[in-house]
Structure formats: C-alpha cells, structure tokens
C-alpha cells in the first residue's frame, strides 16, 4: 500500500488567519491512492486547517494542490465533492426528522418529470451503497432514532453516494464509545481495500498506529515528518507531536492515604419504572488518594455523578463528606464540599457564549463573599477580573482576554479553565468526570499533573474515566461499575488492565 502511486500532492501550503496566526507554515505532503493516511498533532497544530484547504472550505494564501496529476483549486466544498474528495466533520450535521435515505439523497434526489421524488429508486440506490460497503444501516430509519455511530455512517455514506474517492475524517472516534470504534475501523479498512483513499485526523496515537498505513505529524503549523506506521512507535510520535519526551508511565509517588473524606453508604438509585441504576454502593475515598471509576459507559457512572452532586435523588443510602451527611443537601450546599469537573464542558461545565471571566467565577461568586459588593446586590467585577487573570496565568490558559467568549478557546484551554476554577474552590473532595476526554496529549498531560498535585496536597479525588489507561496512570485504587453494582474495589498494585477489563465487560473475572 505504501508503494501505491501518489494521488494528491499539497505543495508549500501557507495559510495565515488574520491578523497574524500562521496556521500552516510551508506544508508539503503527499497522499497515495488506496492508503489510510493519518494526520496527527495537538490541537491547533494545523491538521484540520490543512484538510480544510484541500477540501475548499478555506483558501490557502499560497501553495498548490496537485490532484491526479493536475493542479486543482477548490473554491468551495461542492467543487471538491464533484472532483471526488469529501470530508466528514467532527460534529455530525444531519436532519434528525428525515430518514437515512432522505438525508443521503438530499441535494441529488432522483425525481420524475413532475419534480416528485422517486422514493423507490432513491431507497434502492441508498440500499445498494449500504450493501456494497457492508454498513449495516436501515435506510428507512429516522436519523433521530439511531445511534451516534450510525449517524456517522450516514455522513460517510452521503459522500460515498456522491462517489468520492478520497474521504477526509476529522476525529471520527471522538464521538464514539470504545465498543463502536473497531467497527468503524473495519469499515475504513474495507473502503481502503476497495481503492478509496482515507485521510484520518486524530490525536489518539494508539488508534492511529492501529489503523494507518502512513502517518504525518504536525506541530505548530509545520509538518514534522511523514512515517510508515509500521516503522514508528507511540513514544516517537508523541515526541514529534509535542517536541519533547512525553512520559506515559506513572509519576505517582507513593503516599499513604489519610482518613476518609467521601463515604458512600448503601447508595441505590431505582428509576420509576423499576430499573436499577445504582445497586447498594459502599465505598470511601480517602485524603491524598485518587480513586478511579472504571466501567463501560452506561453502567451507572452517570447516575453516580448525579447522586453525588445532588442532580438526582438516590432512592436510598447516604453520602458523607468529612462526616457531614450531605444526602439531603441541595446542589449549592454540596458545592461547599465538592469540586466538580463535569463530563460535558459546553453544557454543564461552562456557558460557551458567556465571556471567559463569567465562566471562571461560576460557583465562586455564590460561595465567596469577596465576589460581591453592596451586600450581594452587585458583582464585584474588578475582583472577578483579577481572579480570572490569576486563573489564566496559574493554569497556563491560552486566551486572548478575560472578556473573550468562552467558545473561542480551544477544547484544551476550556478544560483548563474549568479544572482551574474547580481546584481553586479548595474543597477536600474533587469529583472528576472524564477530565481529559477529547483533549490533545499536551493538555492531557497538564491536567494529569494538576490531578497529581491535588493528591499531593492531601485532597481526595474520585475520577470517572472511560480511558482505562488514564485510570491506571493516575489511580491509587480502582472501582469497577457493572450494571450499577460495584464489582471491584482494587488497589492498583494488585490488579492489571486484563482483570479490570473483564470485570467491566462481564462483572466477574474469567476463570481460565
């Protein structure tokens, strides 16, 4: 595959975002026919911009693109698609009210002379494509009723229906659960074997190594190198991405845990129609200890977080923090005891449209009287601004100003603001729900450092993560949730990923 003829050449591409951000700095790269070519790099390294230039979504300031031996210049995505190059974006843009086939044929509908859609033919054409690529989709299903993974397939099929030869995928695995990823990879491999060229943007190195034929690494708008996947390692890729060595082994120093901070007793949550979400949980998190919660998504993690935070009321059981019974506290009362980093940055963690400083002071402004003046009637904006500037500095946030809208920050910087805000609350107990999901290697490492720092300070940390590697990297103890039950409570030294994995999947250790 790596000896296939070159299909696309991008030569000396330069892209400047006004006023002065050099997004692509003289990038030259080639893509071969029938290969899976990954483009890796940290957020802001320019990998998405490079693909957008190829796809005609944005225009390069200089440089040229040679496609099938001819120089091309796409002014808009429609031209790229017509030439056979299509891109699936990270956020899935479909019409939930329409069926799968309606979404796919939209814009190129087969019609009769009256302008009436030829449903039978449209369905048949879509069905053919589904069968051809073995996509396992129901063309008549409404998109609102299908899973995220299936929606992603619809996006890919939309392009295949338009007969593209080159598929650009922008971090397609970010929206998938771990169980859905192998299926996507199998489909991409089939497409590649059928002669399609796949350009795969990602920052998950394990995935990239597993899937790709060749890998191009980008850093700060420059191409570092293109290497065959078989001839590199994760360490090497990470070094090229970050520009220095990245440590994948634990830096957790041994430290005897203190007394219990969080104590959960007989916690159960039963839904109205009888389904048990949490089944009699009992555990502690002690001072200076990181406890990781492992489990396949949907086994009670969501409900555990909700009951700890007071978003959902448990059916029975009690929750203590430092011997204070918080079971019947409302959310604000709990916030005096709990720092909380929620899973969804844009929904629960912060307001994307608010300016950065408003997101930075949330919760603080209710708990700390220094944020208000005139007996709480007005916000002390001067103090709030100062607080935000300190947070930006202390947590290495890259932001244009405290007044910039939160959504203009990169994902990594958004998460740094939220983590910074929560850690500054000075509570003894810290609840982290997927603290590094969707972050690049550099930001992830930074957040991990912060988590280890608060452990050293003697705070108690409960961390929920879908990333088993992260759990093993940070935790002192691992709890495993399976169908709402605690099926494992294991010190990290006495277990291994295989054992935890089989607890996650089956609720017990396989006897072999």
């Amino acid at each position: 595959m790596t000896n296939n003829p070159t299909l696309i050449e991008m030569r000396h591409i330069v892209k400047v975002y006004p006023p002065s951000v050099l997004a692509l700095d003289d990038v030259t790269v080639d893509f071969r026919r029938g290969e899976i070519h990954s483009i890796v790099g940290e957020n802001g390294a320019g990998k998405s911009t490079l693909m957008k230039v190829l796809y005609g979504l944005t225009q390069a300031n200089s440089g040229e693109i040679i496609y099938k031996g001819e120089p091309v210049h796409f002014r808009e995505p429609g031209e790229a698609i017509a030439a056979g190059i299509g891109m699936v974006h990270q956020e899935i843009v479909l019409i939930p009210e329409y069926t799968v086939w309606e979404n796919i044929v939209l814009g190129v509908e087969p019609v009769n002379w009256l302008g009436k859609i030829d449903r039978q033919r449209a369905r048949q054409l879509v069905k053919q494509k589904i069968d051809e690529f073995q996509f396992n989709l129901d063309p008549d299903a409404r998109v609102e009723s299908i899973s995220v993974a299936a929606r992603q397939k619809v996006e890919i099929l939309t392009l295949l229906y338009r007969n593209v030869e080159v598929l650009i995928l922008d971090e397609p695995t970010a929206v998938l659960t771990p169980q859905e990823i192998p299926q996507l990879f199998a489909e991409l491999n089939r497409l590649r074997d059928g002669g399609h060229t796949i350009l795969f943007i990602s920052h998950r190195l394990e995935e990239v190594l597993e899937l790709s034929d060749r890998i191009t690494v980008m850093r700060k708008g420059k191409k570092v190198d293109t290497v065959p996947a078989s001839a590199t390692t994760r360490q090497e890729l990470a070094r090229m991405m970050v520009g220095r060595d990245v440590i994948f082994t634990t830096r957790r120093k041994p430290q005897p845990p203190g007394e219990a901070v969080l104590r959960v007793e007989n916690l159960s949550l039963r839904e109205d129609h009888g389904r048990v979400r949490l089944n009699n949980l009992n555990f502690e998190v002690r001072a200076g200890e990181i406890v990781g919660v492992a489990g396949v998504e949907g086994n009670g993690q969501f409900e555990l977080v909700n009951t700890l935070m007071g978003i959902q009321k448990p059916t029975s059981g009690r929750i203590f923090i430092r011997n204070v019974d918080i079971t019947h506290f409302d959310i604000l009362q709990r916030r005096q005891y709990i720092s909380f980093v929620p899973q969804d940055r844009g929904k629960m963690g912060a307001s994307l449209v608010a300016p950065l400083w408003e997101d930075a002071i949330m919760t603080h402004h209710r708990l700390n009287p220094r944020f208000s003046q005139w007996n709480g009637l007005l916000l002390n904006t001067r103090f709030a601004q100062q607080f935000t500037r300190d947070l930006i500095e202390n947590f290495s946030v890259v932001a244009p100003s405290p007044r910039a809208p939160f959504r203009t920050l990169s994902g990594g910087n958004q998460q740094k603001v939220i983590v910074g805000r929560e850690l500054l609350l000075q509570s003894d107990f810290v609840l982290l729900d997927q603290p590094t999901r969707g972050l690049d290697v550099g930001s992830m490492e930074y957040i991990h450092d912060q988590i280890l720092r608060i452990r050293a300070e003697g705070r108690a940390v409960l961390m929920i993560s879908a990333d088993l590697e992260e759990i093993f990297l940070l935790s002192d103890r691992i709890l495993v949730l399976y169908r709402g039950q605690l099926v494992g409570n294991l010190p990290v030294e006495q277990t291994n990923p295989q054992e935890v994995g089989s607890l996650m999947l089956e609720g017990q250790v396989q006897s072999s």
Partner: protein
C-alpha cells in the same frame, strides 16, 4: 335550512383568505423563516386588487396586481431577513406597519377618500355556477355559486401538500428549516430555499388579499385585513404547518366568522360579534397547549 346554508357559505368565504395566507405561511414555516408578514401582504394584496380592477375593469388584472403587490413585500423581506440577515420578527413587524401606512396613504392620494373606497366600477371576482350540481338540494346550493377564489384556495391546499411532502423542492424546503447547515453542505444554498418560500407566501397572500376586496366584499377599507394574517399564523402554529390541518383550522375560524355575521342578524352588537374569531383563536390555543402538555407528560 336557509340559516344552515347561510352559515356554511359564511364559513367558506370567511375561511378562504385565512386559508390562502396560512398556506403561504406554511412554506415559510417549513423553510425555517419566522414570517409574521402575512397580515401586511394580505392588506397590500387587497389594495392592489381594487386598484387594478377599478382602473382596468378586469378582475383578473386586479388579482395579478394583488400578487405583484404582495410579492413586493416578499422582496423587501428577502432583502432584509435573508440577504442582510436582520431579525425576522422585527422585519415582519416593520412590513406589517408599512403595509397599513402605505395602503392608507395611497387610498387617500389615489382615490381621495378616507376610510372606505367603494365604486361600481370595481369588477369583483366572478362566482362559478355549476349547472349540473345546482339542482342537488343542499349540497348543490353550497357547491354552486362559490367565488372562483374559493376553488383556487382548495386547489392550493392540495398543491401545497404535494409540493411540501412529495417533491424535491419540498424535501429541500423542509431541510432548510430543520437543519440549514446540512442543506448547505449538500450543495443547495438554504438561503435560496428561504427566499423561494417567501415568494410562494407572497403569491398566496396576494390571492388571499384579492379575495378580501374583490370577493368577500367589493371595496377597499383601511386596514381591512383586520387580523386575518395573524389568525393564519395561529392556524399554522396550531397544526405545525400541515396544509390539510391548516384547511381544517381555517374552516373553523371561518365558521366563527360566519357565526359572528349570523349573530348580528339577532341584534347582537356588531362590535361584539367581531370578537368571535379572535375568541375562537384563544380557545384553539388553549386546546393546543392542553394537548401539548398531555403529549409531553406521556
């Protein structure tokens, strides 16, 4: 029997302008345009229908002029809300106020009257007699003798239903409302669909307006649309834009209109009977909210 036939005929002619305006609004509803300009478009249509019919002696030219007048408002709407991306609600309010002011001004300047312009030279839209059906008792008395525009409205209902739910145009139109980004990325500019929906709305409101001043009555009065455009908006929202549902709701409003006229015959003050359609709107909204709450809790 006479009363019943009178009531049904009153219902049909009361429903026709609301139905035409609401069908126009259905296009913009599905295209995702928050369009409240039906009121102004109806009024403009009504004025130009009288203008054309009076000066040329042809009701057909009156109807065509009514369409052009309403389309003019559509073009302004497109310029502001689609091209310049101003707020649709504010644009609609401005157009409605503009329509009242402009038609009143032109009424006084061109016809030199205040309030109402009525003249035997205004040619009404003809009624259609059906010689075969005429002799059927009851049904024949309703079917025959309806004004042409009533049949046009019925036809427009079926055509609108077909266009929105069966054709390529409809699939793209609704896509523009559901998720414009998806439509754009499939190569069809969503702004084009929004503009087309507004043009369709202009045509239908022009027809509705011409019925008001050349069919329902044969004159032009200041602000004669009298909230029918707003009622049409209520009709659209009540049935989520479905053309068949719109027809049903329009008949309901038409019925309350006819009922108001009937009550006037029984010496109920006309100011009171004029409230009936609007009270009907409020009652309909109540049932809509009650049903929605039931659906949500289920």
């Amino acid at each position: 029997m006479k009363i019943l036939i009178g009531l049904i005929n009153g219902m049909i002619s009361g429903a026709t302008p609301i139905l035409l305006a609401a069908l126009g609004g259905a296009y913009t509803y599905y295209a995702g345009v928050f369009n409240i300009a039906m009121e102004g478009m109806l009024l403009t249509g009504a004025f130009f229908a009288v203008l054309g019919s009076y000066y040329t002696g042809s009701w057909l030219i009156g109807v065509l002029l009514a369409i052009l007048g309403a389309l003019f408002l559509s073009l302004i709407f497109i310029l502001f809300a689609v091209v310049l991306k101003t707020d649709e609600f504010v644009t609609g309010i401005a157009l409605n106020l503009f329509a009242v002011g402009a038609t009143t001004y032109m009424l006084r300047k061109i016809f030199s009257v205040k309030g109402v312009f009525s003249n035997p030279a205004i040619q009404p839209i003809p009624a259609i007699r059906l010689p075969l059906a005429e002799n059927i008792p009851f049904v024949g008395e309703i079917l025959s003798g309806q004004i042409l525009m009533v049949w046009v409205a019925g036809l427009a209902t079926i055509l609108t239903y077909f266009l929105i739910f069966q054709t390529r145009f409809g699939l793209r139109l609704r896509a523009a409302g559901y998720n414009p980004a998806r439509l754009d990325s499939s190569g069809v500019p969503s702004s084009r669909m929004r503009a087309l929906s507004l043009l369709a709305c202009g045509v239908l409101c022009g027809l509705g307006g011409s019925f008001l001043s050349l069919g329902y009555v044969n004159l032009f009065a200041e602000n004669m649309s009298a909230g029918r455009g707003w009622i049409s908006l209520a009709a659209i929202i009540l049935v989520n834009g479905n053309p068949l549902g719109i027809a049903l709701i329009s008949l309901l409003f038409g019925f309350s209109d006819g009922l108001g006229l009937l009550l006037q015959g029984y010496r109920v003050p006309s100011q009171f009977t004029a409230m009936v359609p609007y009270i009907a709107t409020l009652i309909a909204l109540y049932f809509y909210a009650a049903r929605k709450r039931r659906l949500n809790s289920a």
